[in-house]
Amino acid sequence: MARWWWGLVLLAGVAHAAPPAAKAPMAVLAVAEAPLLRSEQRGLDRLGKQLGALKRPVTVGVAEGARADQLRAWLDATDPAARAKLPVAEALGTDGLVLAIRYAPAPDKLAKRPLGFVVLQATAPHEVFWAQGMGPVSTAMAHFIKILKELP
């Protein structure tokens, strides 16, 4: 009888267990002064697919308007203290997490490496990663994803 009772308690617990909290969506955005080269677009799409490992909705696109302006400000500022004071609402939009990659203007149509990237989250401190002079590299991707997985 006691065994039945404990079994029922266990079943009830499983049935009422809260589902895992849904992860906020993530936007992977290009910040570019010119239309993306096909190679850049492919790189961006590949990155979006790799970030599927985060088990959260991931969209890939190009930042425009006020959102692009705010992301440019984050990418340009080299002082972390100054960046911490920058507005972030437009940069985040409706996404909980944003990865913005800045691409160089390439009038000669030669593919160039990214000029930098930033990852921003909705909760302060907003900055998760920041880099100038390069993009996220494939050899660091596992650690990159591991850190992002821990974010809400």
Binding site: Q132, G133, A140
Partner: protein, 161 residues
């Protein structure tokens, strides 16, 4: 058994050599102030990773680097232009013809501060020298590993033997 070990040793020791092939000469600078006891280990991991990436790391002290760069403090080194980073490098000596890259690391896991700057030499000549600035707030092992992987990739940018 001994013969097999000898053959294996010979096979491992005789790596193919190519004309112009050489390790990258990388100057590494530990820029934290020493207050965080975890800084030494963090910097040691960066240096060891560089040494394991077909490169010869050579260290210079924080004081010597700041003095040569004409800087009184290091707090704003992320904002330094590439010329100022290079001005902190001592003249290469001995077998080293010149530095291929300078890696400056301010790693303080205790306060969640992981900053690095990587300046690479100017190749092709006449081009603009490359400068990479990296920031990852956090003290986790993953954050340190991420920084190390990005630093190594950055140090090899534009490398030419």
């Amino acid at each position: 058994m001994i013969r097999a070990l000898l053959v294996l040793g010979l096979w491992l020791g005789v790596a193919p050599a190519y004309a112009g092939d050489r390790e990258a000469d990388i100057l590494v600078v530990r820029l934290d102030d020493g207050a965080d006891p975890a800084s030494k280990g963090c910097f040691g991991r960066v240096r060891a990773a560089i040494a394991g990436a077909y490169a010869k790391p050579v260290s210079v002290t924080r004081e010597a680097f700041l003095k040569a760069a004409g800087a009184e403090a290091a707090d704003d080194f992320l904002s330094w232009p590439v010329e100022k980073i290079w001005s902190g490098a001592p003249k290469a000596r001995g077998e080293v013809q010149g530095w291929d890259a300078i890696v400056v690391v301010d790693c303080r896991p205790g306060t969640g501060r992981l900053h690095a700057v990587v300046a690479t030499s100017n190749y092709p000549p006449g081009g603009s020298p490359n400068l990479v600035r990296l920031v990852v707030p956090g003290a986790s092992a993953a954050a340190q590993k991420w920084l190390i992987a990005q630093v190594i990739e950055a140090a090899w940018l534009d490398f030419s033997p």
